[in-house]
């Protein structure tokens, strides 16, 4: 869309930086402001940003996989975490040691997937139109 080589190089640098920040937000979410949703939106924003300044304008290429699959993986993690405690005869969604983080990761993936998909669809289709 707005392709320029300098912007793109800076963008790639920023992209890595933003994603590191997102990772940080994700991990510390349980103890400080942050968490899966915030991190997810951050990552998704970085992808959107990169897409807009990149040549092809396709998030799907950048993400390697279709964001829908990212979303489904995240959703599966969350639903699995819902059911997982029932095997140990605990109430649904009872958390143990690492599961809160995993839960956040699930949310993170869903958010990345959803925002990525909807943005890619909008960009893709608005370009296609006359």
């Amino acid at each position: 869309m707005f392709h320029s080589i300098i912007l793109y190089i800076v963008g790639r640098f920023l992209f890595v930086f933003i994603n590191l920040a997102a990772l940080y937000l994700l991990i510390r979410g349980h103890n400080a402001p942050g968490g899966g949703f915030i991190a997810g939106v951050t990552t998704a924003l970085s992808f959107v940003f990169l897409t807009i300044i990149s040549k092809s304008g396709d998030i799907k290429k950048l993400l390697i996989v279709d964001p829908i699959y990212v979303m489904i993986t995240g959703l599966s993690i969350v639903y699995f975490l819902c059911l997982y405690p029932t095997f140990g005869f605990k109430a649904v969604l009872t958390h143990s040691q690492f599961t809160p983080l995993l839960f956040d990761v699930g949310i993170y993936m869903v958010v990345v997937g959803v925002i990525g998909s909807v943005m890619s669809a909008m960009i893709h289709n608005t370009e296609q139109l006359p």
Binding site: G29, H30, N31, A32, P33, G34, G35, G36, F37, I38, V41, T42, A44, L45, V48, I52, S56, D58, K60, K61, D66, I68, M71, G74, L75, V78, Y79, C82, V92, L93, H95, P100, F103, D104, G106, I107, V110, V111, G113, V114, I115, S117, V118, M119, A121, M122, I123, H124, N125, T126, L129
Partner: protein
């Protein structure tokens, strides 16, 4: 619920059951030769007729008020099917509809009556009600009485509801024979007889029955004389006779005598006449009696049965009708002599209707069968079997008319305690009162004169219009239009307006607490004032700025400012989320609007929205603001109980192993909400993709 399938087997139900099966059987025989048409229609006709007869019997034998009502309504439904048997004809549809609406509509009153009876007597069993006390206030008893009687009147075509019966004459003749002489219309009479022991003590009983009965008797007889279509004549005379029966029950204080005789009389002669009418219609194809002449040579048997039946209708000696008429005349004289002159009005009406019916009887026999057949009239001679049922019925009329003691012998054991008078007086073939004799002779004379007078006149009465489906459709469109259901743009106005009115009414209704609460509102800090004013400014800007770019900028800035506001209110998670989501939304909206800005700009100069709508818009939005302010003021009062929030800040660390209470709530304490929330995201995405992409583009990796 106290609804059970229990049956009542007493003289009353036996009698009605017997009569209905008798006439039913004859009608079945008759329709075998009457009905013509394809085989499957035939089968359908018999199916309806059988179902109808079954429900009739069910109604008569049921002891439970609710099952009684169930069968009652079922008879209406099957009669609807029977009347609308020739379904494709709009006229037939109209009559079927009229019958359905009247009988079901009045049936609903009966339902109300039944329910009240169940409430008052604490049982739905009719047989038990007689021996119980009505526990509700007396006014309920009156309502129950009126409701049950309305039901009965509707079914037996009494005065304000009588119009469905003549209109139902579009049905095939066997249907009219069965439904409109013998079975369905008698159901109302049956209901009156059935509830006589329960209801007749009420002071409203007699006046209601007498008034309605007299009105329908007279009106029916007058209309019968003035009609020319043979089935219409019969229908109106049925209305008249049913009115007479209703009147009869109203006049019978402290027990009824010989009601079976009257009912059987009417059933026999009316069924005969309908069958004769059917024979006439099939063999000549003509319904107007003015065109029929000199038929006796071609169908002597029919002429005979018609004559007997018509004589019974006219009340000529030797028929059941004569005895019945004398009986009622006697009753009137006794009442006038012993009770009051008030019954004189009823008496006069009775005489009047008897005169009319005499004339009708003459009209049905003398011009049709007497005289010479005009050559233009084409006749197919009726076959013998089709004439047999009418002959059987007419011979009953003659036999019981000549030997009334035979009737008494056969049916005296059918009398029911609490309904009938005991001991019953015997029926005489000739009355002992000289006044009665005089009155009878007077009726004959005047009736014959009336017949002669009307012979060469053709009077007609205009039909009363009945609201039908098209008029309902018109009303429906008016309602739809008035409610603005066809204007999607107005929906939001109405719904938000209602919200403001409904809740505003409550929250403004309590002034005092509001005033109390507002004093609790805390003083804002300077920073607060500045931030909120800037947010307000941008909110207003979003509304007033021209062009979508300006609006979008205002809206986004507002979103960022709200995250500042969240920060001020000690909500860092919210601030962060708001900031990020606002950016994503901005990009999303930009993607949408950059594409479509051209098309939106194009159509900007157009007629301004109607000013009324604009004013309304301003009013509603200001109202909404005031509404929310009133709610917030109310909320700013002290909480009624301590909120559970402090639990989480206390235990977040120990129980959920997290320091950020908001996050522990989201992930742990109320994690299920979060599961739902991300499902919502996924759902919204699926919906959005379905709208943006075409089906084949989904899941494709190509761009």
């Amino acid at each position: 619920m106290g609804v059970s399938l229990s049956f009542i087997l007493d003289g009353l139900s036996y009698f009605f059951g017997l009569m209905i099966t008798l006439i039913g059987a004859l009608v079945f025989l008759y329709s075998r030769y009457y009905m013509t048409g394809p085989k499957e229609e035939y089968g359908r006709f018999y199916m309806y007729l059988l179902l109808f007869m079954g429900t009739m019997l069910g109604c008569i034998f049921s002891n439970n008020m609710i099952t009684f009502f169930v069968f009652w309504e079922l008879t209406s439904i099957f009669s609807f099917c029977l009347i609308g048997f020739k379904y494709a004809d709009p006229e037939h549809q109209k009559s079927a509809l009229t019958a359905l609406v009247v009988t079901i509509g009045t049936g609903l009153y009966l339902l109300v009556g039944c329910v009240i009876a169940g409430m008052g007597f604490h049982t739905f069993q009719i047989s038990e009600m007689v021996s119980r006390y009505f526990t509700l206030p007396p006014v309920w008893f009156t309502i129950m009485l009126v409701c049950i009687l309305i039901g009965a009147f509707g079914k037996s075509a009494q005065f304000p509801f009588h119009f469905w019966l003549p209109s139902a004459m579009k049905a095939p003749v066997p249907v009219s024979t069965f439904l409109h002489s013998a079975a369905m219309v008698k159901l109302g009479i049956y209901a009156i007889a059935r509830f006589y022991p329960i209801l007749s003590n009420h002071p409203m009983w007699a006046p209601l029955l007498i008034t309605i009965g007299t009105l329908s008797m007279t009106w029916g007889a007058v209309r019968a004389v003035l009609s020319h279509q043979i089935k219409e004549i019969l229908a109106y005379s049925t209305v008249s006779q049913l009115g007479l029966l209703v009147l009869f029950y109203g006049l019978s204080f402290h027990g009824v005598s010989h009601d079976y005789f009257h009912i059987a009389n009417h059933m026999f002669y009316k069924a005969t006449l309908f069958m004769v009418a059917g024979i006439l219609i099939t063999s000549t194809g003509i319904r107007d009696i003015r065109q029929l002449k000199g038929l006796r040579k071609y169908m002597p048997l029919t002429a005979f049965s018609c004559a007997v039946a018509a004589m019974s209708m006219a009340g000529i000696p030797g028929t059941m009708g004569f005895i019945a008429k004398e009986h009622i005349l006697n009753m009137f004289f006794l009442l006038i002599a012993h009770q009051s002159l008030f019954f004189g009005i009823g008496f006069v009406c009775f005489i009047l209707s008897s005169i009319c019916l005499f004339a009708v009887g003459c009209r049905l026999v003398i011009p049709i069968f007497g005289g010479k057949k005009p050559p233009s009239l084409k006749i197919v001679k009726p076959r013998l079997p089709i004439q047999i049922p009418a002959i059987i019925l007419s011979s009953f009329i003659a036999i019981f008319g000549i030997f009334p003691s035979l009737w008494a012998f056969l049916f005296s054991s059918f009398s029911v305690h609490q309904l009938h008078k005991f001991p019953m007086d015997t029926i005489h073939s000739v009355s002992s009162f000289p006044v009665t004799k005089a009155a009878t002779i007077g009726i004959f004379l005047l009736g014959y004169l009336l017949f002669r007078y009307l012979e060469n006149k053709s009077l007609s009465v205009p039909a009363i219009p009945f609201p039908t489906l098209p008029s309902l459709a018109k009303l429906g469109s008016t309602v739809t239009h008035f409610l603005r259901l066809d204007k999607p743009l107005d929906y939001l106005f109405i719904v938000i307006g209602f919200l403001i009115c409904a809740t505003g009414w409550v929250s403004f209704g309590f002034h005092q607490p509001l005033v109390g609460f507002i004093s609790d509102a805390i003083k804002p800090s300077m920073l607060d004032i500045v931030v909120t004013s800037i947010i307000c400014l941008f909110a207003v800007a979003t509304v007033v700025v021209n062009g979508w770019i300006g609006r979008l900028i205002s809206l986004t800035t507002l979103g960022f400012l709200i995250s500042v506001y969240f920060m001020l209110h000690k909500a860092p998670d919210l601030a962060l989320t708001q900031l990020l989501i606002e950016s994503v939304t901005l990009i999303l909206l930009l993607l949408l609007l950059t594409r479509f800005s051209a098309s939106t700009k194009k159509i900007d100069h157009r007629l301004p929205f109607t000013s009324l709508r604009h004013i309304l818009k301003i009013c509603i939005s200001i109202g909404a603001g005031l509404w929310i302010i009133s709610i917030l003021i109310m909320m700013s009062g002290p909480p009624a109980s301590p909120p559970i929030g402090s639990f989480f800040t206390l235990h977040s660390q120990s129980l959920a192993k997290g320091l950020n209470a908001v996050n522990t709530i989201l992930v742990d304490f109320r994690g299920f909400d979060t599961v739902g929330e991300i499902s919502v995201l996924v759902i919204a995405l699926l919906g959005a993709l379905g709208l943006i992409h075409r089906q084949k583009d989904l899941f494709s990796r190509k761009s």
